[in-house]
């Protein structure tokens, strides 16, 4: 291959932090005007590599070339000067400012007086930038009125307006709907056609194969392979990432459904969902599929008694329950492994041990009040071991763990109380492949113990691979219920987009 076709080359990059070698002699290159996917499990070194590229980690060894010129990145400013821009997974717009104001944040266009901002000119230029990319967003709209996908696009526009020729996107689709993904991909395609180089980080296989021209795989801080996407299959990619062939990604056996544990009858909540009825049996996994905003999370929260019902009834083991509080749900043996572990699942500030024991402190208390630290420690150690939570000690803060390990901590915390039913809401979002498989295995083992599972997921393969039955929601309505033998991606997707079956 000709060297000049590469917009960016990183050669022999090594960087270490106290106790760990985060990247070890990694050499990668990115073709100009192409989308290169950067793949690898959490902890593989992707974000470290990107943080070097945006000038955040400066103590690296090795060489970086933009085109033919060797550069040294020693500050965030350096990266911007060299046309490198990153769109972070968690966007930080100023919500009360307009789209145009956000685009020109820090580089406001001033009136001749040199003091006041020329809003008219900013809006005009923002509009032109948006139009060039065929994005229909009003530049005078407040940022907070935009969807996550639209914010991503505004970030992309901002990068373009900086003159960025290399744009890094970190899991841009982790919080947006499928139709928005299409729109975002169209914009990415345009950026590529303009000759910009895109570095795309994602865990979603199907997306990678849709958007990426090249794929780079890292593992444990080392370079594994770099290939055109066409020359890789999904299985090859997974095995490159995990370093072993994954026979069955979804470890589960045959279900033996028992009696009904939970029944929801004609449940409605204003603007969220309408007239939904279903049953969950012991010993089975009930999948709930649907697009973002279909009312799935709201349904889960309602079952977990965080939000009141307008109409309808929820029965646990045949007995109608009054919606009270989370505490009532926990007493009835219901647990919620929520969509966003950082918001609802964990106390990142507290130790792994304190996180695991928090729900069931009564079990380690004398007289419901005084803790028995020894007993607590033994029980927590036991369950953390069962769930293979990887941490240097149980006293490290939860925030220091990887996403997959954090999710295992959430699972361990609920499992400790031996619940009868667990509601999983997007259990494996943003989690690496190996941890994902472990969480699936735990989910299945839980169901196999004659317990009930509800699993909400946006990933169709996960729904199909894990569930015994699946409900499909669209816009707050139950579109259909499919048995395992009726599953197909096409069928679930057509229900999810609101096409009724005849």
């Amino acid at each position: 291959m000709n060297r000049s076709e590469y917009a960016l080359r990183m050669e022999h990059i090594t960087i270490g932090f106290p106790g760990v070698k985060a990247l070890d002699d990694v050499s990668v290159s990115f073709r100009r005007g192409k989308v290169t996917a950067l793949m690898g499990e959490n902890g593989a070194g992707k974000s470290t590599l990107m943080k070097i590229l945006i000038g955040l980690y400066t103590q690296y060894t090795g060489s970086i070339y933009i085109g033919e010129e060797e550069i040294r990145l020693s500050s965030l400013q350096d990266a911007i000067v060299h046309g490198i821009s990153m769109i972070h997974q968690e966007l930080n717009p100023v919500p009360l400012m307009t789209v145009a104001e956000n685009i020109f944040l820090g580089r406001e266009i001033l009136l001749k007086t040199g003091l006041l901002v020329d809003f008219k000119e900013q809006n005009r230029q923002a509009e032109k930038l948006l139009e060039d990319m065929k994005i229909s967003i009003d530049p005078t709209e407040k940022m907070k009125a935009l969807s996550v996908a639209q914010m991503q696009m505004v970030e992309a526009i901002k990068a373009v307006s900086f003159g960025a020729s290399i744009i890094i996107m970190d899991e841009p689709t982790s919080a947006i709907t499928d139709s928005e993904v299409d729109e975002l991909f169209r914009v990415i395609g345009q950026l590529r056609d303009q000759g910009r180089t895109i570095i795309y980080i994602s865990h979603k296989m199907d997306e990678i194969f849709r958007i990426a021209d090249d794929i780079i795989v890292l593992r444990d801080g080392r370079f594994i392979c770099q290939k055109p996407a066409k020359e890789l299959t999904e299985e090859e990619l997974i095995s490159a990432m995990v370093g072993r062939t994954v026979g069955d990604i979804y470890p589960r056996g045959d279900a033996r459904p028992g009696e009904v544990f939970l029944e929801v009858k004609n449940a409605s909540r204003s603007n969220k969902f309408r007239n939904i009825s279903f049953q969950v049996r012991r010993g089975e996994i009930l999948g709930i599929a649907g697009l973002m905003g279909a009312g799935r999370t709201e349904l889960a929260e309602t079952i977990f008694e965080m939000e009141p019902l307008d109409e309808g009834e929820i029965c646990v083991e045949g007995e109608p329950v009054e919606i009270g509080s989370e505490r009532d749900a926990i007493k009835r043996g219901i647990a919620l492994v929520s969509e966003d572990r950082k918001i609802l699942g964990l106390n990142l500030n507290a130790s792994v041990k304190d996180n695991i024991s928090i729900v069931h402190l009564d079990d380690f208390c004398v007289g419901k009040m005084f803790l028995r630290p020894g007993k607590e420690q033994r029980e927590v150690e036991k369950i953390a071991g069962e769930f293979r939570v990887k941490c240097p000690s149980l006293w490290v803060k939860a925030e220091t763990l990887s996403g997959g390990n954090q999710q295992k901590v959430v699972l361990a915390k609920w499992m400790m109380g031996d619940p009868e039913m667990i509601i999983f809401d997007e259990p494996t979002r943003g989690i690496d492949v190996a941890a994902k498989a472990e969480i699936h295995r735990m989910m299945w083992e839980f169901a196999a113990k004659n317990k009930a599972v509800i699993m909400i997921s946006s990933e169709l393969p996960e729904i199909i691979g894990m569930s015994d039955r699946a409900l499909v929601l669209h816009d707050g309505e139950l579109m259909g219920e499919l048995k395992r033998e009726e599953f197909s991606q096409e069928r679930i997707m057509s229900l999810a987009i609101g096409r009724r079956e005849q």
């Binding site: 977990f304 965080m306 509080s325 989370e326 505490r327 749900a329 926990i330 919620l336 929520s338 918001i343 609802l344 699942g345 964990l346 106390n347 990142l348 500030n349 507290a350 130790s351 304190d354 024991s357 928090i358 729900v359 402190l361 009564d362 208390c365 419901k368 009040m369 005084f370 803790l371 630290p373 240097p392 000690s393 149980l394 006293w395 915390k413």
Partner: protein, 317 residues
């Protein structure tokens, strides 16, 4: 409780503040010969105990992510109410103490209800209560202090037990209660959970409102104890008793490493924080440094403590 394996950085994180206290003591004992003796230390502890008692309660509030600015005013109202029932030969001592504590806890409960159930931000609620209760303290005896107190009452702040000043003994008891409550009970764990992540605490089945309610009642209680001690020690119920105590209590927590955004802090490190302020004040007094300079030093220490905390945390990332 938060033990486990001790690493070098972990050691510094946990005991660094103790070392700073020892360092200050070492420097002061070199600079002034009158610093390092038992009587002086007894003196320091007695001075520290009055706001130190409040800082123990403040630690609970700050760990939940809240703040209580009304503690000084609660101490003031308590001092007025308790002393008004402590004239010689009127009521038994316990009546005045009980009334004082009841007033303090009730004021804390009002804070708690407004914050936990009314969802008024803690800063605003307690700022309002601080002003309001100071008015109550002034109004109680038309702005005049209450004097002529029974010997039993004045002994609380002025007396000794086995040669140790009573306020110090009360301080130690409050510290022990605080340590047990925060680190060895379910409630203590809930306090950390609420401050660390309120939503996840709620989903974990914790009664978040009740936890918040209780922590403000705790500060109400400790403020009342402090108000009784100070009025006893100066032998009068002053309507301005306790003014500025909130700042001393918050300072102790912050120097002790508590995070104002919640989830972090401990009783013992708060006490060390209070001692650092107390030792420094005492040392500077002995060195005859003017009180104006002392204020400047105190301000620098608050900012330096947080700055050091933040930079060490950054390095660990």
């Amino acid at each position: 409780m938060r033990a486990g394996k001790i690493t070098v950085s972990g050691f510094f994180e946990r005991f660094g503040i103790v070392m700073i206290l020892l360092l200050i003591c070492a420097v002061l004992s070199v600079l002034t010969p009158s610093f390092l003796n038992i009587r002086n230390f007894s003196n320091i502890f007695r001075q520290v105990s009055i706001t130190g008692i409040i800082s123990v309660g403040m630690a609970f509030v700050i760990i939940t992510g809240g703040i209580d600015l009304s503690v000084g005013s609660i101490a003031g109202v308590t001092a007025m109410v308790a002393t008004s029932l402590a004239h010689p030969g009127e009521y038994p001592l316990f009546v005045s103490l009980l009334a004082g504590v009841a007033v303090g806890v009730a004021a804390g409960a009002v804070n708690g209800v407004l914050i936990a159930y009314g969802e008024v931000p803690p800063f605003i609620t307690t700022l309002g209560m601080m002003t309001l209760l100071r008015g109550v303290a002034q109004l109680y005896n038309n702005g005049r202090p209450i004097i002529d107190l029974s010997d039993a009452y004045t002994a609380i702040g002025g007396g000794f037990l086995f040669g140790v000043p009573n306020p110090v003994i009360i301080f130690v008891v409050i510290i022990l209660l605080g340590v047990v409550l925060l680190h060895y009970t379910k409630f203590g764990r809930h306090v950390y959970a609420v401050g660390g992540n309120e939503q996840s605490a709620r989903v974990s089945g914790i009664n978040v409102r009740r936890v918040k309610m209780i922590v403000y009642m705790i500060t109400g209680f400790v403020s009342a104890v402090s108000g009784i001690i100070i009025s006893s020690r100066v032998m009068s119920g002053s309507p301005i008793a306790g003014e500025g105590y909130e700042m001393d209590a918050i300072t102790a927590c912050v120097i002790g490493g508590a995070s104002l955004s919640g989830g972090e802090g401990s009783v013992l490190s708060t006490v060390i924080g209070a001692l650092i302020v107390g030792v420094l004040k005492n040392g500077l007094d002995l060195l005859k440094v003017s009180s104006y300079w002392q204020q400047i030093v105190k301000g620098i220490i608050i900012i330096a403590a947080v700055l050091i905390d933040i930079t060490t945390k950054k390095k660990r990332r």
